[in-house]
Amino acid sequence: MATMNMIQAINSALDVMLGRDDNVVVFGEDVGYFGGVFRCTAGLQKKYGKTRVFDTPIAEGGILGTAIGMGVYGLRPVAEIQFADYIYPAFDQLVSEAARLRYRSGGEFWAPITVRAPCGGGIFGGQTHSQSPEGVFTHVCGLKTVIPSNPYDAKGLLIAAIEDDDPVMFFEPKRIYNGPFDGHHDRPLQPWSKFRESEVPEGHYRVEIGKAAIARPGADVTVLAYGTMVHVCLAAVAEAQVDGEVIDLRSLLPIDLDAIVTSVKKTGRCVIVHEATRTSGYGAELSALVQEHCFHHLEAPIERVTGWDTPYPHAFEWHYFPGPDRVAAALKRVMEG
């Protein structure tokens, strides 16, 4: 066991997989010699050489287009999109190509690519460094989408993603790279080293894609969250003084429906939280699933706490970011409902 923050855990996952499998290659803008703008690939080019860890042109469509071709050849490419906000030029390669290749070729060809992309706000990144586009990708059949909330899951899920024979979108909530940010931006950040999730095995292990985790067991209300919002929800549950069961979804597609249904049937209440904009967001899917499977157990309307339906406004970061106060208010409303 070692103590790692999320950056170190992601670096360790890449290191383990580059070491175990000659077909793993890692590339993206600034990931090679420099080691990535968030340092997730630091030291890897030096260790594995520049044909396995390398820099690319600034062309996300080209990065993922070539990644698919490498995957077809038989490699396991791990491509970094420097910010999730920059992924849209590659959208066609993901939606029309990576996601559908196995299907349209009757299983003859597939592209086992992993796409890493730092996502989410809370870093004063403005509208082009703060977005949470995960719901755009869960809507695409043929892609898997995962978002870890801590170093242990980040490493285990990334290894599982690289070993997966389907394309996996691996979103990294950059606000929690260094510590579990709970939304209280006026308080000092606690480093990961103070939390048990920073205890990470140095070798190979997997966290299964498609399995949620219970971040906090509780009896009164189910809170569905992922990424940074897991920590915001844990703070909100404590501050609202409700016995909330916080479920860290970890994998948005495939989704662990059993974990959600079991919890909501037990609590009879549900609050859904994400940073992404609300309308047609992933929370809408969660809300529909809870309604379809738990309607007769619900004792209050389902609540959603999300980013507002606006672009991410730089100067109004903390008005936009769904912090613990908004989550706590929603928790109180469903408890009164």
Binding site: I68, M70, V72
Partner: protein, 420 residues
């Protein structure tokens, strides 16, 4: 390049209003076809450079036109690949089989036995000569009008027909529009239907081949219209940066559905010239000249295999048929235009070349045409034993397979909801 209409000049000193240029082809329906803007240099005029030649020494080839067969269909000049008569006859046969297949499949579409078809008439030399010039295990990333690649690689017509029919033997399980083939064992990548996406994928495949110290190269095809897509430029950028062992082909057949090549920028530069800014050799070749297409592709393949990097080839040709069975070209171009194409027909030209060599005759030509037509008919009969579009290709439950390698719970549930 298409002719650009002269721009009227204002009097000196006068203030000139701005004017938007909207490209216009040289002739529309009812007008006399006009190819006067196309410069056809003599065959054999251009030298064949060394495969290791610096890109900077090759820039003239982007504005030239490499031709081997002269007006009398004799092979002349340094680019003559010196193919033996047997290879030439095999090439002719593959082109004629492609044409016979296209003609028959158009007919079955018109009979309502399938929904859609796309012919490659007039462009057969592109796919067939290029398949002949590449090694059998080189990887092909085609667009939708290179059925000749599969035919030249000896793939079963029955298998292709079953895909067009979406019948019980359709290897793509009824999931793809007709002609969007995928044939892994022939190194023929799944055709997307979205334009140009395969171009950077081919570059990625070639990069992987180089990373692994393999010897196989990749080749990909787009039409001239698709050079306007971002993926075209992504492919050239990555191919240049990593010197990928790949051949990037632009089939300039003059039309993107109804839009003449001026709408892809062809009025102002050749498509081969796009390579120059990327430091990639751009070679323009007479796409209806089997020998020239073969020779140029062979040169680019040798260059790639020797780690001298990628080549872009513009194959200058003419789409003699409609874009697809959903298209009617008489609505946008003169009907006689195809017959007036200054570079002729690729099948006729190779046939005349062989006859000139004393290696072929009109009688053999006619006998071969009959034989191939019979073969296609027999194959069609066999394919129809497995059904046509009206026949369900398989149980509908298969439509939930291959979305992922293993079916996740939500898809199992949806399959059950459908009743399977």
């Amino acid at each position: 390049m298409a002719r650009k209409k002269p721009t009227p000049q204002a009097a000196p000193g006068a203030t000139q209003k701005l004017r938007l240029h909207v490209p216009e082809p040289s002739a529309r329906p009812g007008e006399e076809p006009d190819f006067s803007h196309i410069r056809v240099p003599p065959a054999g005029a251009l030298p064949r450079p060394d495969i290791a030649a610096a890109e900077s020494s090759l820039r003239g080839y982007a504005d030239g036109l490499i031709r081997v067969l002269d007006e009398d269909q004799r092979a002349v000049g340094e680019w003559d690949p010196q193919l033996d008569a047997e290879t030439l006859r095999r090439g002719l046969r593959a082109m004629m089989l492609t044409r016979a297949y296209d003609d028959r499949m158009l007919r079955i579409q018109r009979q309502g036995k399938t929904s859609f078809y796309m012919k490659s008439t007039g462009e057969e030399a592109v796919a067939v000569a290029q398949a002949f010039a590449l090694d059998p295990d080189d990887m092909l990333f085609p667009s939708y009008r290179q059925q000749g690649l599969l035919i030249a690689r000896g793939h079963s017509l029955v298998d292709m027909m079953c895909q067009v029919y979406n019948n019980t033997r359709d290897r793509l399980k009824g999931r793809q529009l007709p002609i969007m083939y995928s044939v892994r064992e022939k190194g023929f990548f799944s055709i997307s239907g979205n334009l140009g996406t395969q171009f950077p994928q081919a570059v990625g495949w070639a990069m992987a081949s180089a990373m692994k110290g393999d010897t196989r190269i990749a080749a990909s095809w787009v039409g001239e219209g698709t050079t306007a897509e971002a993926d075209f430029h992504h492919a050239l950028t990555f191919a240049s940066v990593y010197q990928a062992p790949v051949i990037l082909n632009v089939v300039n057949n003059q039309y993107a559905i109804s839009s003449f090549q001026g709408f892809a920028g062809g009025e102002h530069a050749t498509f081969a010239a796009r390579a120059i800014g990327y430091g990639i050799p751009g070679l323009r070749v007479d796409g209806n000249d089997f020998l020239a297409v073969y020779a140029v592709t062979r040169w680019a393949a040798a260059r790639a295999r020797a780690n001298h990097g990628p080549t872009l080839i513009e194959l200058f040709t003419y789409r003699a048929a409609a874009h697809s069975t959903s298209d009617d070209p008489s609505a946008y171009r003169p009907q006689e235009e195809s017959a007036r194409w200054p570079l002729g027909d690729p099948v006729e030209r190779l046939q005349q070349h062989l006859i000139g060599l004393g290696q072929w005759s009109e009688a053999q030509q006619q006998a071969l045409a009959r034989e191939l037509d019979e073969q296609v008919k027999a194959d069609l009969k066999e394919a129809e034993r497995y059904g046509t579009l009206a026949t369900a290709p398989a149980s509908p439950k298969t439509m939930f397979e291959d979305v992922f390698k293993e079916m996740p719970p939500h898809l199992i549930k949806q399959r059950q909801e459908m009743g399977y």
